[in-house]
Each structure stands twice: as C-alpha cells, then as structure tokens.
Symmetry: C2
C-alpha cells in the first residue's frame, strides 16, 4: 500500500498525522508498509512464499543462495502479465487488421476464414481450425517487413480499446505482477517473457509496459529472411512457423533463447505446465507460480473448462509439485493499475 500524502491544511490534521505516524513507528508498521515491495498483494501465504523464496536465494550465506547470473525469472504473458479474455488480444489485433485490410481484398467477403472474421462470427472462424488461423496469421503477420509489422502493432495499441473495460490493451495488465517483476529485478533477477504469443507482437510494448527489453522476450515466431531491396536491407516476415512457444515448446524456447534453466517461472494455464515442470525440476531452490483466475467481479473467473487459458493439470498437480497458486480474488487487493487520467 502506498502512503498517501494527506492535505496539511489544519493544525489538527498535522497533529493527527503525527500521532498516527508515531503509533505506526512504534508498532513497526510504518516501516513495514512503506517498504513493502508488493503492496497490491494481500498479506497471506502466497505473498509470504514469494518473499521467502527471494530472501532465501539472494541472501549471502543462506544455504539456498544463488549467484546473480543464475537468477532467471520467466513469465508467461497472456493471462499472467495481462488479461486474455474474452480472447487473446493478439487475435483481436489480427481481426482488426483483417477489417482494416478488407477494402483491398474484396474476395474476402466470400472466402473463409476471412468472411467469418469480417462478420465477427467467432464460432465459425474457430471452426476453420489451424488451417484457417494460419491464413489469418499469414495475411496479418507475414509478407511485410519486421518494421512495418511493429509499426502496425504500435498504431493499433494507441487506438484499440478492450470491449469490456474500454481501456487500451496494454493497460489490461496486472498491477501485482508489475510489482513482482520490479521486486525480482531489484533482487538481481533477470526477467523474461516466455509466452505462446507472437515474439514480434510482444516486443512492441514489453519494454514500456513491463520493463522487459526486446531481447528478453521469448515467444512464438514465424520464419524471416534478410533481403536487400533497392539497396535497402530488410527483414521480411514469412508465412511459415518457426517456433510454437507453448506447452513442451516453452522449455525448448527457454533453452534456445535463454540458455539456462529458470530459477522462477510464472504462468496461468496448462500451456505453462512444462515451463514450470522444467524450472522446478532443477537442482536447489526453484519457484513455480500459477495464477488462478478466480475473480469474476474485478476480472474473470475461469479454469478447467475455459476455451482460453485452460488450467486443469496445473491445478491438479500444483500441490504435489510444490507450486504456489495465486487465488486472484484472495491474494490480490488490486488487479489492474489505476487508470491514467
């Protein structure tokens, strides 16, 4: 909890403030609260487990001490750092791009999966399966330079708004997770995103939004090629999958990009199961963290039967594997950051 600066207009207020301060100081509460690195996390066993782990692994002389160059923390993105309902935001981006590009593609009116995408018929779109999705990806993510793609995403983030909250998508992020990222970094951890989402998509906003630079973002990707066109060197994105960084693809992505096993891994769905399994199978202290979406008032409540971010195996095995499960409703006293005015 941040200490609010109270108006200092009346002597009585000043006096009251002084009393409260003294009372807090004597109880040690002031110091504890103002230094709390995780103010949006309710006091309880989840927060305590995180803090204990960080203290244990970073305190010189502690039996669980881990040198700074091995303090790797990986975070899933969709449903872990930002929301993923009603559908993955990158899919919303793709559909918005289809709409934007439609005037140049009159044939899409009768051609699937574009016809369903343009009508907003999600059920029929999903029925087009992997092949259909790949056509949407090819049309909206490939056959353009990497710079053009980044520019498109950047423009979209400025104008697109979440259907439920009307906030920009990069404000649909979890305040407690921002604090956790900061807390880990302040303790010498190097923080990475390891997500099934597109690497080039996330890199557009990850640094500004999460403080995670482009080279610390691992995600799914398309192949690319280097071309010099009219004397101008370019990276061109191809309509051909390079890596699906999900499920058993996550430890592979971690190996490929990070090159060492994480000390700490956080996710929210069974797509993160193998990342947590790989992480916590390492020697010495390791931390596996799962975010359980239990809050249908402030966010959404979903798990075993959800079409997005299904969490079943993780819930069943978390206890046996020693993973910590965040109960969003109980453990977070704030979900999203206060809106920028």
């Amino acid at each position: 909890m941040q200490l609010r600066i109270l108006p200092y207009r009346f002597a009585t207020t000043a006096l009251w403030l002084l009393f409260v301060s003294l009372a807090c100081l004597s109880a040690g509460v002031w110091a504890a609260e103002s230094n709390d690195p995780l103010p949006s996390w309710s006091d309880g066993k989840t927060k305590q487990a995180i803090v204990s782990f960080v203290e244990k692994t970073t305190r010189q002389g502690s039996p669980g001490f881990v040198p700074e160059n091995q303090r790797i923390a990986t975070f899933d993105n969709d449903g872990t750092l930002w929301a993923e309902q009603p559908v993955y935001f990158q899919l919303i981006y793709a559909l918005d791009q289809v709409k934007k590009m439609a005037p140049q593609h009159p044939e899409w009116k009768s051609e699937e999966p574009f016809a369903s995408a343009l009508k907003g018929d999600m059920e029929k779109l999903m029925a087009s399966g992997k092949e259909g999705l790949m056509k949407i990806i090819a049309a909206t993510h490939a056959d353009m330079t990497a710079d053009e793609f980044s520019e498109n995403v950047s423009q979209w983030l400025k104008t697109a708004r979440h259907p439920k909250t009307n906030r920009p998508y990069n404000e649909m992020i979890y305040q407690p997770m921002l604090e956790l990222l900061d807390y880990l970094r302040a303790n010498g951890f190097k923080t990475f995103i390891v997500s099934g989402g597109g690497i080039d998509f996330m890199r557009v906003f990850a640094e500004q939004t999460y403080g995670i630079p482009p080279d610390q973002v691992v995600g799914s990707s398309l192949k690319a090629e280097y071309k010099v066109r009219n004397g101008k060197p370019e990276i061109v994105k191809l309509a051909d999958i390079n890596l699906v960084n999900d499920k058993e693809g996550k430890p592979v992505g971690i190996h490929r990009y990070i090159g060492q096993r994480p000390l700490f891994a956080a996710g929210n769905s069974d797509g993160d199961f193998q990342m947590l399994e790989w992480t916590t199978a390492g020697k010495g202290p390791r931390f596996g963290l799962l975010l359980h979406h239990t809050d249908d008032k402030r966010e959404w409540a979903y798990d075993r039967k959800s079409h997005i971010g299904r969490l079943e195996k993780g819930l069943d095995q978390a206890k046996d594997r020693g993973w910590t499960v965040i109960d969003m409703q109980q453990d977070w006293n704030q979900v999203f950051p206060v809106a920028t005015p």
Copy 2:
C-alpha cells in the same frame, strides 16, 4: 598500457619513479594512460574512431546521443573474439569427440567421413562436403541432452590445447577485444555474440571468457525437443539444423534473438558482411568494425584467399560503407592476454 609496479628496492629507483610520475602528471600523460579503457589498442585512427563513436552516442545532449536501451553491440566470435586458425575450434572439438567416441563405433574405421576424421586427413574430410560435416555434427552434437553436451564441451576446454601455442582454446582470445567489450559495457552498451558457431558450444564459456551471459549469445543451432524420461525432464538435441547464423542468417538471428538493430557490429570475415550491412543501414550513428588479420608473427595473416574467415567483399567495400578496418599488426600492441601462470 598497464602501469607496471617497479621494484622498490633502492632509493634511486624510488626517486626516479617519483620524477617520472611528476613529469607524467604535469603533462597529463599519467592520467590519460591510467584511465585508458583500451590500453592494448595503439593510438591511431582506429582507436580514435571507436572512442569518438562511443562518446558521440553516449554523451547527454550530443546530437548523436542514443538512449541506453538502444545501445546494442554485436560481435562475431571465430576470428573476431577468439582465433580461428588452423581451423574453427569447434571443428577441432568435434574431431576430438569423434576420436573419444571411436572405441564404441568400430564401424567408423571404414565409414566416411569418420575414417578420414580419425586419420586426421582434413582434405578428404572436407571433400565429404556438407553431408559429411552434418554426419560429424550429428554424431558429436546431437542425440544427447543439452546438459550432457555442455558437460562434454566444458571437459574438453579444460584439457584440449591449441596445436600452435599449446594454450587452452579459451585463452586464444584477443585482449584488445576484451577491453572493447568492457569499454562498451561501461558505457551502457549491451554486448552480444552473433556467430556462425554453435550457440550451445559458445554458451559454455562465453560468460566466464567474455562476460557475455548465455542469453546474449546468438549462434547456429540444432533443433531440440522436450522430453520427460523416467520422470526426469530433459532437453534433447536433435540432428536437424534450426538456424545457420552466418551471412544473411546473421541479421535474421539478430532479429530473432535480439529484436532490434544493433548500434555497433564487429566481425572479421565476409560471413559478417550482412550483419555490418544491416547494422550500419540503421538511422543515426552506427559503427561497423572489421578485424583484418595482418599479423603472421603474433597471430596469422589471411584474408582474400583463406579457406577460413575469408575477407574479400568486406575489404573491397569497407571504405565506401564507412566501416572501420582494424589492421591487427598496426592497431594492436598486444594480441592475446598474458598467459595465466
């Protein structure tokens, strides 16, 4: 130049030292020399070009100022950070492994390319071409876990010695380049290796040798898969190429791993041409650096006709493209670090 601590036995020596110190101080030489971040670089236009670039891009208020999060520096490894003669050290590793594994593979005595590898017949080995090389790679770099591979490389580095100098391979590194890496990092640059060499091979020594952590190493790679065997999660290296990080593969590797265009790129062969081209085609100040091996006394002299590290296009175009070429013989007053006793 490092200031040597002179024996302090005689008063005359002490007096002389004092005089020299005073003389240096009054001329500003002492201060300049003891603060020189690049002491193994001879004073001259190469060193000056590097220092000017770093000062221009890092001085607040300079028209060429670049924010710290965009200060990306990429270095080739073979022939740029460490030597590459008589052949790439990773090939020597592979051949050493073939010899080590031979007792378990009696069929190799008559099976190419292993027979030539075991006899040390490099010419015949090379004549086996890509297909032959791929067989050597498959036998020595695949069908094992990533951990097993790292352990093998680590063991090899401890015992293998360079045929000419009898030094461990990870001491066949260029002292001036170590200073350049340190100098760039001290000025807020993030340093990466971008090499045609194997990513898993380089990651074993890059941090200790160059101060470059595993996640900042980009190289060629094999595909890998995640498997849980007898309850133990493992990353298994497969005999299938994932990325050839050479020539036009280097900008692709940079895009894939680093996600932004470098500000500074250093290489030594035409395999680095596209990396320098991509780097220096960016907006604002950029730096392209090529190491020309001109020193057959302290190292090797080779360029246009070499079978390893051929440098032809780079030499022809460096001037027009504004790239800086290091003349090893002229520009470096020391090549390798002083041997550890």
